[in-house]
Amino acid sequence: MSAGAAARYHTGVAFGRAALRLQRLRSEIRPARSPSEHLGPPLRLAPRTKELVARHWLEGRYANPHRKVAWVTSGAPVELLKALGFYVVYPENHAAICGTARVAVSIASEAEARGYSRDLCSYARTDLGAAFSGKTPVGRLPRPDLLLACTNICQTVLFWYRVLAEHFGAPLLLIDTPFVYYDVAPPHAIDYVRRQLEDAVPLAERIAGRRLVDADLRRVARLSKQASELWMEVMQRNRHRPAPISAIDQFIQMAPIVEMRGDAVTVDFYADLLREVDERIRDGVAAVRLERHRLLWDNLPIWYRLRYLGETLGAQGVVLAASTYTNAWGELAPLIDPDQPLESAARTYLYPILNRSTGHKLKTMLAMAQDYALDGVILHSDRSCKPYSMGQMDQRDRLIREHGLPALLLEADHNDTRCFNEEQASSRLAAFLEMLEARP
């Protein structure tokens, strides 16, 4: 590692941070107004979220060759890499940023032009397009020294990361997490994951150029747990009526728990978010001003239509009070044991909702409907995400027929605008909301 690279990194990051701080201060002085008369005021913390996320990507811009870089899947056991000092890139988060910034299609087209089918997950296409072309809204993506794929969200990541391994010539560390078809994972599956985690250490150490220190791993695991618990608490404040923070806001505020899990700054951030949400409850500030109906959102968000969805629902007095997606980043907190970081990680990383059965997802939705006193469910049938979407047709039927919960299947794609038929979605949504309104 050269002194020049270190100097470039520190100078670039320091200047960038100063600029971002300035931007935040400006936004805080002139707070944004509510985008719609039907919605509550934006979160005061929003400029800080923006700054935090931008700072993360800023470090990435200068990371090569000063820091070792790992590209990881969103459900990967990142604590190990954090404890070894890796700078971590989450291609899924990067793709979501591209989706929100509405550049995902143009970046994905770079992959499509190289033969990657439009039937592949749009996160993968966006990421591959960025890797091939260097196009990104975050300045620059650092090259990976290591790839870490964990199959606990889907098998897609395995196929996708094999392509990245080819492209970058970087080693691929795989943590394979057998799908949990029944209530509990069999002991041999837990053993398998634990062993893979242990076996991953020497390769990660070799690339990091340093030994793993137990105390560091425990510290990172503790920070992960604290941040996940705080995030869960933030979401659970929506048990309050009216809900103080809609799932639309949660989709934005969840970025740090995904890409900065294990950092102290993330714990502070969620502690502050929780404080603000509590203040909103105290002051009677609602996410939707005249909340009449509370819904659950299932599956990934439609990143490029967040605002449209928030405003359309808000105008009808509907708040998305909970989502299985944001919930997934908090619900596993109790399983993390910082004193046994690897052992507990084997369990924690086997149990994300996406690695569990379609029946388990239905149970989760029903439990959330009760917990948050919800009036119905919107299931986003996401063309890109088969593991999340398969089973939704049965889940919807069961919700309606056996539990009397109105449920709508909304066809779209989380990142690919070409798969979203605005007219069709609007009319289906309108019919669903009318039906909600007509219910006694």
């Binding site: 190289r114 033969g115 990657y116 089918s117 039937d119 592949l120 997950c121 993968a124 199959t151 889907c154 098998q155 897609t156 395995l158 196929f159 996708w160 094999r162 392509v163 391994a165 080819e166 691929l172 795989l174 394979d176 057998p178 799908f179 078809y181 029944y182 069999p186 041999h188 599956a189 053993d191 398998y192 062993r195 893979q196 076996d199 059965s357 379609t358 029946g359 239905l362 049938s381 063309r383 088969k386 593991p387 979407s389 398969m390 089973g391 939704q392 047709m393 049965d394 069961r398 066809e411």
Partner: protein, 364 residues
């Protein structure tokens, strides 16, 4: 279908009927990798379900979105239409997100009369993968014990493994010597794919007949290698023959990617794991793309293939992710490629045939 010079190959229904009337059970087995010997040890004849192509897919449409591949859509439709009523258990190996969804929907929502047995093969060949797979096979044994009430001995298992390994050896020979067998593409796959439902020993006997015949001159069609999941829908193989192509090697998930080598371990479970992990590279088992590419190049060279045709199924992620790298690598190795995409339920589209013809003209 009687093949010239080979004793008739019994059809699926004939085999199922015969096995049932002899008091045996049937395990309907979905793609891709599964432990046949284990099922046989419990008196269950594994009969594989790749689709099938001719089925009313409206049944599956009530459970699956249109962006799910036709292997899974047709399989679920087949279950719902009663096509697998004859089966005693349904075995659903995990290979991709779509098969995962199929297994889970069957267990949680469709709940067929038969027990559904999921099976998760690992995505690597590391020592941890091997030990996990051994334990997964033992866990499947325990579930089969509960379902059948039987407790097959280690010896029964070993006998079954020997029979399966012999069948795999014969199947590998069939693949290696296919050009001298005097069979056209449709005949070759009728024979090779009868491994999907015939008892191993019956398959070995029939396949040996084909191998023991004096070799005939290789067919004159343009030699090509095919890669994909399954050579369906019906008519595709005849179409290849018609347009003057001879399939000299394949990398189909149902066929050339399942030429398992024999294991060596005396423990039957470890031995089955060795076999399953020792098969040719496969994205659904996590093989690196470079390994797949090396194999395709070697296979093309050995078989004399003049080009590679990727015959993919729509929405099949494992195949679609590898496609650009494989095509690029083959191209660099001087092997022309083309790729066509099909759906099991729709015959072979005209434009696919035209595309194949154009490719053959190009490599002629």
């Amino acid at each position: 279908m009687p093949l010239a010079g080979i004793g008739g190959i019994p059809t699926r229904s004939e085999v199922i009927r015969a096995h049932k009337s002899a008091g045996g059970g049937i395990a309907a087995v979905f793609p891709i990798h599964s432990p046949r010997a284990l099922l046989r040890a419990f008196g269950l004849l594994p009969v594989e379900v790749w689709g099938p192509p001719h089925v009313d897919v409206s049944h599956g449409a009530a459970h699956l979105q249109p962006y799910v591949c036709s292997i899974v859509r047709n399989a679920l439709s087949f279950v719902l239409a009663g096509g697998l009523d004859v089966a005693d258990v349904l075995v659903v190996p995990h290979a991709c997100d779509s098969l995962q969804g199929l297994g889970s929907i069957l267990i949680d929502f469709v709940r067929p009369r038969q027990t559904v047995l999921p099976f998760y093969p690992p995505r690597g060949t590391r020592p941890s993968d091997f030990d996990y797979l051994t334990a997964e096979l033992r866990a499947l044994y325990t579930r089969l014990q509960a379902v059948t009430g039987l407790t097959p001995s280690g010896e029964t298992l070993r006998d079954g493994i020997t029979r399966e390994e012999d069948a795999d050896r014969v199947l590998t020979l069939l693949h290696d010597l296919r050009r001298g067998l005097g069979l056209n593409s449709a005949e070759f796959y009728t024979l090779a794919r009868s491994r999907e439902y015939l008892p191993a020993e019956v398959f070995s006997a029939i396949a040996r007949q084909a191998l023991e015949r004096p070799p005939v001159p290789a067919p004159s069609g343009l030699p090509v290698l095919l890669s994909g999941i399954v050579p369906e829908p019906a008519g595709v193989l005849e179409a290849f023959d018609r347009i003057g192509a001879t399939i000299v090697a394949d990398d189909f998930a149902c066929s050339g990617r399942r030429l398992y080598p024999p294991g060596r371990d005396p423990d039957p479970f470890r031995r089955m794991a060795e076999g399953l992990l020792g098969g040719p590279p496969d994205p659904t088992r996590g093989s690196p793309i470079a390994e797949r590419l090396r194999r395709l190049i070697a296979l093309s060279r050995r078989s004399g293939a003049r080009g590679v045709i990727f015959y993919t199924l729509k929405f099949c992620e494992p195949e679609l992710f590898d496609l650009p790298s494989l095509r690029g690598g083959l191209q660099r190795a001087g092997l022309p490629t083309t790729s066509v995409e099909v759906d099991l339920s729709e015959g072979l589209p005209e434009q696919v045939q035209t595309r194949l013809e154009a490719f053959l003209e190009m490599i002629a």
